[in-house]
Symmetry: C2
Subunit: 396 residues, 2 copies
């Protein structure tokens, strides 16, 4: 788990403030407690914090339902034992897609309690998505028997850049119906829960270092290839949000200066060459057949030559953009996710060739490239992880 | 001052180790003390650390010459007052260039005590540079009257990528004579001081947020345009080193897939279009005259049409690469440094046009672009700042 973070919520606070410091200190306690229960005195010793500071933070976390305490005798003295509530505290993870809504309930120990996905019409209004999320959450709470009071918050993923200055989805989103909406306020009102919102690719990155197999990795990039192409970054062990919160826009890296016009208004962006939308357009030309991303996967696995060529060209373009990215931030791991993840090496191989061709040699040789193992769940799981990163802080 | 950091030296340690934790705690104390002297009890209160932890760190910093203490009476009780030694502790900053060597002596309060630059022959061997640094340091200590015991360490900047796994300068350096040398060990032996080494562009970034005007900025990129083009990154308030220590290699961003062969082995890299070497080649073609970077500045200021065109084209190419970079990491400020800094808006204008053309709109509008105000001193000052970031830790 990253040492600190800055969700859309906490980002509004002064980063040097007391609450930011408390957040950092809380993370240090949680990291200690992930190894097992511990006394307050032992937590103070391990972290270098004063016993008064540890006691204050434990109280806040206890009020938030994150930990429970019990008096014990340690070395003949009375002490307070602290343990993480791996089942007591529940987070909701919500993934708002273009045509789907996924909701998971997860416990602090990173176990899925229950989950469900429903289909929504393409082009549905944001309010329809929000209503569906409220309904689905109520249904899952009922079915699982989880008490609403155990829910410490909800995380939500949106397929679009979020401008942290205004708290709204910015222009250029894959979900144009959400642009300009005060997403955080609207969701808190509708769900009646503390809410944390992030971009889908950022949540993919967070899910890889929490739920996924990359939990020790300090510098990781999650690349989502779908109808848009975006990346989420974990840098120096923390989710990275940049100056205004819009990062990882690798889909708008210029590949051909005079290429096709992109939805962002520029030309020859990576998305115009390698998004699923572009692949579907190329493969559907003249046939009148509209494919879905899962058709690309199926046809490529069946060795359809045109599909293989389109995937190969897209992969090379992605690899070229990744070469430039890797030259800049030298990630240890780049994880590729999205609806084409089932292509495995058919997509990963051309990406690797492009990366090695365009990166400086030592970077090309050492950057590890992998497909996401979390599949379509990555965003919802990342959204749940976002809640645990921040719960407790907001009680203060 | 960034909250934490990881120099080549500390990077070798386990990042979750006790010394990394002590480093973080020490940084918090220094940040408090930069506001003025404080008692140990007050430091404990402000940081949330235990008084025992504060007392231990103060002792280590005192031994390293970074702070001094005096017993006082506070609210009628005996207390220990701690103050930063703004003059007592001295750092050496060394900038190894292709044809120059610069050494500065600096105090903890970011004051230059004395500095000098000497010229070295192009293509000089690394050992010549190191010998010259030893001599120049002895000379400056003598002239300034600074006692050698007050020097807490030396920082050194190298114009090339440093592979942190091996501690050597990697292939592709502007200083090929330094490739493969165990730079840290060799310098520690020659200077008989604790040494910290970093890439010149990383030190430029560090100097901007310590000595320069950008001290409040958490996400900053320093772009050095010289015979090579490289960038240093401050992300989430910390110097950023990536997985193996080779970051900011924006000079090798592919601009034209089938462009000129670059010294890295790839084609059409930004350096083949916008380095001072390329500009000098373009402007010298057919004339037999060899220009220096300062000639480019002088001729452009005198409105020579060919020079203005070459600078404009180079700036546009740099801006295009920066657009892609800004889309990815959304820096608040990009600072441009290097020998062409005197061109000011003649270079900054085309860079800005290229950036706005290739970035997504909100990023293009909000990324602040500025020329470095530190001039040729940036690297040596950054090298001195590197020492203060780490001094004290190594005593433990």
């Amino acid at each position: 788990m990253p040492a600190t973070s800055s969700s859309m919520k906490s980002h509004r606070k002064n980063p040097g403030s007391q609450s930011a410091l408390r957040h950092l200190n809380q993370q240090r306690l949680i990291e200690c407690l992930l190894n097992g229960p511990s006394t307050q005195a032992e937590l103070a010793r391990q972290t270098g914090l004063s016993t008064a500071t540890v006691s204050n933070i434990v109280k806040i976390m206890q009020d938030a339902g994150l930990v429970s305490t019990e008096p014990i005798t340690s070395s003949g003295r009375r002490a307070l034992n602290v343990r993480l509530n791996s089942n007591g505290a529940v987070a909701v993870g919500i993934d708002f897609g273009r045509r789907h809504l996924r909701v998971v309930l997860a416990s602090l120990g990173y176990h899925i309690i229950i989950e469900e996905t429903v289909t929504l019409p393409l082009g549905h209004h944001a309010e329809q998505g929000i209503s569906a999320a409220v309904e689905l959450l109520d249904k899952l709470l009922l079915e699982s028997g989880v008490d609403r009071s155990a829910v410490v918050g909800a995380g939500a993923g949106i397929a679009g850049p979020i401008d942290r200055r205004s708290g709204t989805v910015a222009q250029g989103a894959i979900l144009p119906e959400w642009v300009g909406i005060q997403i955080l306020e609207r969701l808190e009102e509708a769900l009646d829960l503390p809410v944390y919102v992030d971009n889908d690719a950022n949540l993919g990155a967070l899910s890889e270092v929490t739920w996924g197999p990359h939990s020790g990795i300090s510098n990781l990039m999650f690349l989502k290839i779908g109808s848009g192409i975006g990346a989420g970054l974990i840098l120096n062990g923390e989710p990275y949000y940049g100056a205004v919160g819009i990062t990882g826009e690798i889909g708008h890296a210029t590949i051909h200066e005079y290429g096709a016009i992109c939805r962002c208004g520029n030309r020859g962006c990576l998305e115009t060459m390698a998004s699923t939308t572009t692949m579907i357009e190329l493969l559907g030309k003249g046939t009148g057949v509209h494919l879905e991303p899962e058709d690309i996967v199926r046809n490529a696995l069946a060795k359809d030559p045109a599909t293989l060529r389109v995937v190969d060209d897209a992969g090379l373009a992605v690899g070229r953009a990744l070469g430039n990215v890797a030259n800049l931030i030298n990630p240890e791991v780049i994880v590729v996710g999205g609806p084409l993840a089932g292509l495995a090496d058919i997509l990963l191989d051309p990406i690797r060739r492009g990366l090695v061709r365009h990166a400086v040699p030592v970077i090309g040789e050492t950057t590890h490239l992998a497909m996401s193992s979390l599949g379509a769940r990555a965003e919802a799981l990342g959204a749940a992880a976002l809640v645990f990163q921040h719960a407790g802080i907001k009680q203060s």
